[in-house]
């Protein structure tokens, strides 16, 4: 299912990589490279999901996530952390703030990433439904 995805990523090469992948699956990708513009971009674009980097110029991903949660109009925005900066503290902070997942970029391929986003948003990637007792 095609989605509107807001990608907040300051590394242009990585942004380009994810944009290519997600667009090739029919999604619309809006890219923002500056941390300080992120919250406003969430508000303006009402994306289906926000892919949020942690290390960003201006404002870091966790601050952005906190601000989104504190803003009445966008507090329910779906956010997936997509980063190469992982320590346990960051992961638990992000999950406590309601991030759907904390994905380490280097651990997955672009297609695994887009499948994962789809499944986090409730798109079934499997055609067979297993029924158990």
């Amino acid at each position: 299912m095609a989605r509107k995805i807001l990608l907040i990523e300051d590394d242009m090469a990585l942004a380009n990589l994810y944009k290519m992948e997600l667009e090739s699956k029919g999604n619309t990708v809006i890219h923002v490279a500056e941390g300080s513009l992120a919250v406003e971009a969430v508000r303006q674009n009402t994306p289906d999901v926000v892919l949020l980097d942690v290390m960003l110029p201006g404002k870091n991903g966790l601050e952005i996530l906190q601000e989104v949660r504190d803003s009445e109009d966008i507090k329910n925005a779906k956010v997936v952390m997509l980063t190469n900066f992982g320590n346990e503290e960051n992961v638990s902070t992000a999950l406590e703030l309601g991030a759907l997942d904390y994905i380490m970029k280097y651990k997955i391929t672009p297609s695994e990433m887009s499948d994962k986003i789809a499944s986090l948003l409730g798109d079934s990637t499997e055609s067979v439904v297993k029924v158990t007792d």
Binding site: D11, N16, L17, F85, T109
Partner: protein, 324 residues
């Protein structure tokens, strides 16, 4: 020093300075407890040592932005009268350095992962679904892969140069070892590879060279680097390793090849930035270019020197010396 009545008998000037107590003031145990109040129950450790007569040590006690290691040991204040000694070690600087180092490593790992993720991801996209991309797009992807790989290489170069400035990276552990035997072993290890490439590999070792102090693990690394380089850059002919005692207190080691040689203007760069002179396209001989920089670091850490000479009539001779 504290006696059994918990009276503080002596506090040296360093201790007073650490706790911020005037050098002339008479001080009591309360001053010590006061200094650690809100941070650490030092009196509990003191009581415990009185009871158990066993020393106790607590590290990284944070007091007012500083870090202390507290060691409490059982002592005798006078004949048969028990007491304890409290040793305070200010660890603040060590802690700061350690945190800086950890922070630096975390940043470095993050910085290295970004271009790697791009290279891996782009290659994966191209391999899995080439039909999804037209030629223009494919070129764009390949150009990006190359750019990210260059970025990565540049970062590794810079980091390595920084590391070279830090001598501790080439910390060596010398012990009496036999260099000739080590070289013989290394030559044997590389015989197969040389043979595969149609090259000869020989050694001429000075029999008067007896065991002397050097780090055998690090020297093995040096010989590995030099031999693999020599084999990599030699198309025909062969490689000869020579040892010779010079002027009584130096051993000179040469790895001579009959490769295409190093142009004079490139010689100074060889050990400097590990700018690869030859791009090796041979997948069996991958090259990071790191070898010579590390080699130089190891040789210099032994108090030796390393340089490159022309091998007449053809090829290169890498020469290094080690003090005996």
């Amino acid at each position: 020093m504290i006696d059994k009545d918990f009276k503080l008998l002596i506090a040296n000037p360093a201790c007073r300075k650490m706790l911020g107590i005037s050098p002339i003031k008479t001080i009591s145990l309360f001053d010590l407890m006061d200094a650690f109040k809100d941070y650490f129950p030092i009196e509990e450790v003191i009581s415990k040592v009185f009871k158990t007569h066993e020393a106790d040590k607590v590290s990284e006690v944070k007091v007012d932005g500083k870090f202390f290691q507290i060691t409490v040991i059982p002592i005798e204040v006078s004949d048969g009268v028990p007491g304890v000694g409290v040793l305070l070690h200010d660890q603040t600087e060590e802690q700061n350095l350690r945190h800086q180092h950890e922070g630096f490593m975390a940043m470095l790992v993050h910085e290295l992962r970004s271009p790697l993720t791009v290279i891996k991801g782009m290659a994966d996209m191209l391999l899995k679904n080439p039909e999804r991309f037209n030629e223009v797009k494919r070129n764009e992807i390949l150009t990006q892969i190359e750019a990210s790989a260059n970025q990565l290489l540049e970062m590794v170069n810079t980091t390595l140069e920084d590391a070279r400035e830090d001598d501790s990276k080439f910390e060596i552990h010398k012990k009496p070892s036999d260099l000739n035997t080590l070289i013989k072993g290394e030559v044997k290890n590389y015989e197969g590879l040389a043979k595969e490439r149609g090259l000869s590999l020989a050694s001429k070792l000075d029999p008067s060279l007896t065991p002397f102090n050097f780090d055998p693990a690090k020297m093995t690394q040096v010989m590995n680097n030099l031999l693999s380089n020599a084999i990599k850059f030699t198309q025909e002919g062969g490689i000869t390793v020579t040892t010779k005692i010079e002027s009584g207190n130096l051993v000179r080691v040469e790895v001579a090849d009959t490769g295409e040689g190093v142009p004079a203007d490139k010689k100074p760069q060889l050990f400097h930035k590990f700018a690869q002179l030859h791009k090796s396209n041979d997948p069996e001989m991958p090259s990071t270019g790191l070898g010579l920089v590390i080699t130089k670091g190891i040789v210099e850490a032994h108090g030796g020197k390393i340089w490159v000479e022309d091998n007449k009539p053809r090829g290169t001779r890498v020469v290094f010396t080690l003090p005996l």
